[in-house]
Symmetry: C2
Subunit: 133 residues, 2 copies
Amino acid sequence: MSIARAKLGHWHQIAANGSTTNDLAEILADDCVFHSPVVHTPQEGKTKVIAYLSAAGQTFSNTGFKYVREICDGPHAMLEFTANLEGIQLNGIDLITFDADGKITDFKVMVRPLKAVNKIWEMMAAELERQSG
Amino acid sequence: MSIARAKLGHWHQIAANGSTTNDLAEILADDCVFHSPVVHTPQEGKTKVIAYLSAAGQTFSNTGFKYVREICDGPHAMLEFTANLEGIQLNGIDLITFDADGKITDFKVMVRPLKAVNKIWEMMAAELERQSG
């Protein structure tokens, strides 16, 4: 069985629980890297990745967010999702890499269509600002 | 072995050959659907999908386009790629579904970051217009 397949249950629990800071701290590797759908520059280190993923958890609450397709192969998992952001239909993927201990080392997000990329940018920026305020 | 893994060699040949109309006609199912990174509405039917994928083949020629990661599971393959569009770094995925005969029934593309989504929109629109002109 793919490592990712074996470890993915833990991620689903965390996501279903709203991606809280404490839960994320448990599953992310210290040197984890996050790749945003909006910005090119990778966000490096557990603290930054927790900030992004918990903000995403808040942003996607009450949007009908759901995972609709799952592809696992070796250490990599691709989870496709859909959501509705204030009337804009969003389709995206989480591309997640696990290490042998089941910790996440790399987390990349892509989103379509263009309208949804713009919307997620606006909503995530507001949420990150709220967190830091 | 995953069906997608077994059939993916054919796709790689076609992509490496510049995604010509004739090659695409051979690998796409008649009821194939294309999902653009830019627009929400699916493009249905082999003729439309050929138009998009051959335009993409043209758009990505001489951009350093290369596949960098491959995840296969059952009928689904996710191919991650990178390219450089007139100075803008692009990272994206092809999410491809194969039927039992090795024909592609569904082809979805997502791209990051935002700058690259805007750039691919501009370049694809120009190429589709050139094709139809």
